[in-house]
């Protein structure tokens, strides 16, 4: 072990981090489905799953088993390569964007500092957007390769919706970037430490970007909900309009992959919302060293959970947009609002930082 | 470090493959995609030279090439759609009404 080089340690630690993150993500996705079914059920005055395990907690396991054992029906005349590629692409991209998300501070073992992040790129935020824009392909190709009209229409509608709202998503974070001065996600969280001081007086409000970028946050969250195809923007999956949308012709494990990728995307944009607007892992920290290391991770997961609960709450409460209303809202309201936000923020930042 | 000649060799290989596709293929969308391949090969050459001369201007030019390629792709595909509406064919051999 004495001759194990720096590169070797870096590789080993990164592999362990990847294994931990993938395991935690898979478990979170599985239990997010349980949470969604329970919360939507209680909103609708019914119980949700309660038979399998205490309060239905083993339901995701049962669902997973069902998906694996189900018959895999492949329609005739599908474009085989593209048909099999689409769900794998969706799942891979959904997991790829987690690689740059920081979950907490760092801890030191044997003089080696380990960060709670797989890798910190100095263009980390752009990397997440790059992976999101590649995610459009999985939807469009799934719809096209199914060789059937409802999936084709659903796939085209869904991918058009995704690329329209990606623009507003990118614009909404420009205000945050102007204030943080860096594209690295860890750097953006670090710029939100401490408290807001107005004219030298400590206001005891945390230095989170939500207090100075409320419009940016609203634009970001709306665009994120639309980008992940969730209610109220989930027309491409609406059963009464398009049967199942782009995943109509998929069965068993491939359908489960689309399902998992939708929840993974939800988790990713909620992580980003926490990091960009709510201070990431900043929160009250006290106690011995172990607690100081784990409390930031706990605060991050708590804020993440609040966002996911809000997503599920919206699903149980709101009706869905019609498609032309959806596209008009994205292009004619959200995009100009994002641009105005960038304009206003740049004026204020230039005024404050001018000598 | 990667020698400059290797970067340029990759760039030239991609460019020649793109040029060959541009000349030999018959579907107009595939021809357009070979044009994009050639543009990317040129971008690689720009980035390679930027690295070896320590100058950021090459990267900036590659950035402009990407932006202009986006504008060109939008207009080119709109032209292809208009052509398809008139000719019902995506074969460039059917676009010969100006031939003698």
């Amino acid at each position: 072990m004495a001759t194990f080089s720096d590169t070797g340690w870096l590789l080993l630690i990164t592999l362990i981090k990847i294994a931990v993150v993938v395991l935690v993500m898979l478990t979170s996705i599985a239990y997010l489905t349980w949470l969604e079914r329970k919360v939507v059920a209680h909103i609708q005055s019914r119980w949700g799953p309660y038979l399998v395990g205490y309060s239905g907690l083993m339901q995701p396991l049962a669902d997973g088993l069902k998906f694996i054992l189900k018959e895999d029906i492949v329609p005739l005349e599908v474009d085989t390569i593209v048909y099999w590629l689409a769900p794998f692409l969706a799942l891979t991209l959904a997991f790829l964007s987690i690689a740059v998300i920081p979950f907490g501070e760092s801890f030191t073992i044997h003089g080696r500092t380990i960060f709670f992040q797989i890798t910190d790129l100095n263009v980390g935020l752009l990397f997440v957007f790059a992976v999101t824009s590649l995610g459009v392909y999985s939807v469009a190709l799934a719809g096209w390769s199914s060789n059937s009209k409802y999936p084709l229409l659903g796939g085209l509608r869904s991918s058009a919706q995704m690329i329209s709202y990606e623009l507003s998503l990118g614009l909404a974070v420009v205000g945050v970037l102007m204030m943080a001065g860096t594209l690295s996600l860890r750097g953006i969280v670090d710029s939100q430490s401490g408290f807001w001081h107005i004219a030298g007086v400590n206001t005891f409000l945390p230095h989170w970007n939500i207090f100075v970028q409320p419009v940016g946050f609203l634009v970001y969250f709306t665009a994120a909900v639309a980008d992940t195809n969730r209610v109220p923007f989930d027309l491409p999956e609406g059963e009464s309009e398009l049967v199942g949308g782009y995943h109509t012709e998929y069965s068993s494990m491939k359908f489960a992959m689309f399902f998992m990728s939708e929840y993974a995307n939800m988790i990713t944009v909620s992580c980003l919302a926490t990091i960009l607007f709510f201070g990431g892992w900043h929160g009250p920290v006290f106690g011995p060293y172990v607690l100081r290391v784990l409390l930031p991770v706990f605060w991050f997961c708590f804020k993440l959970f609040c966002f996911l609960f809000f997503y599920i709450w919206m699903r149980g409460t709101l009706p869905r947009f019609r498609y032309d209303q959806l596209m008009a809202f994205g292009w004619k309201f959200l995009l100009p609002l994002g641009l105005l936000n960038v304009l206003a923020t740049s004026f204020v930042v230039a005024r404050i930082s001018s000598p | 470090m990667v020698p400059l000649s290797h970067v340029l060799a990759l760039s030239v290989t991609l460019f020649v493959i793109g040029a060959a596709g541009f000349v030999f293929r018959k579907n107009i969308i595939t021809v357009f995609m070979c044009i994009e391949l050639m543009l990317n090969a040129v971008n690689l050459a720009f980035i390679g030279f930027s690295r070896y001369l320590g100058n950021l201007d090459g990267q900036l030019f590659a950035f402009f090439v990407i932006v202009v390629a986006a504008a060109e792709a939008a207009v080119g595909l709109a032209i292809i759609i208009a052509l398809y509406r008139n000719r019902e064919s995506l074969n460039i051999e059917d676009l010969d009404s100006m031939k003698l």
Partner: protein, 179 residues
Amino acid sequence: MTVGARHGVPVRIETNLVPLFYIFGALAVVAALSVVAQRMPVHSALSLIVVLCSLAVVYLLLGAEFVAVIQVIVYAGAIMVLFVFVIMLLNAGRETPSHRSRMAHWLGAPLVAAFLLEVLFAIWRQFPAGASHAAAAVDAGPAAIGHLLFRNYVLPFEVTSILILVAILGAVVLAKKEF
């Protein structure tokens, strides 16, 4: 080569990442051949996306991290989406065989190979492998590119924005159904 960064400060690791260039370069060449050789345009488009992403990795290896990510976001994530949409909407199927001369078809590939070898030879003469050592690594982060873009190149930047506006108008007018 800088691997990883703690918000903008490069961390230097003594790893040899040069083999990655050859791996992704070979992947780019194979995918480019696939773009040219596939019969269905959708498969060509997918192969072109593979070329774009492997070129993005090569740009990263050459120190151009901002251009690499922009390549994926704009080129692979927007322009190619446009291509894929048009292919799906026009229902482009298999290519019909050509009714031109077969001899041109069979003479073509060797001529292309000969041209490629000729240009590679010219490059090898101009830049012998041993004699090229790179200049010092320049910080190519978004801040540096932004400085250059908005100071030295602000005129091309503004002209490009007008160009994009004209392209949008042109595309809408050309693709409209009724006049």
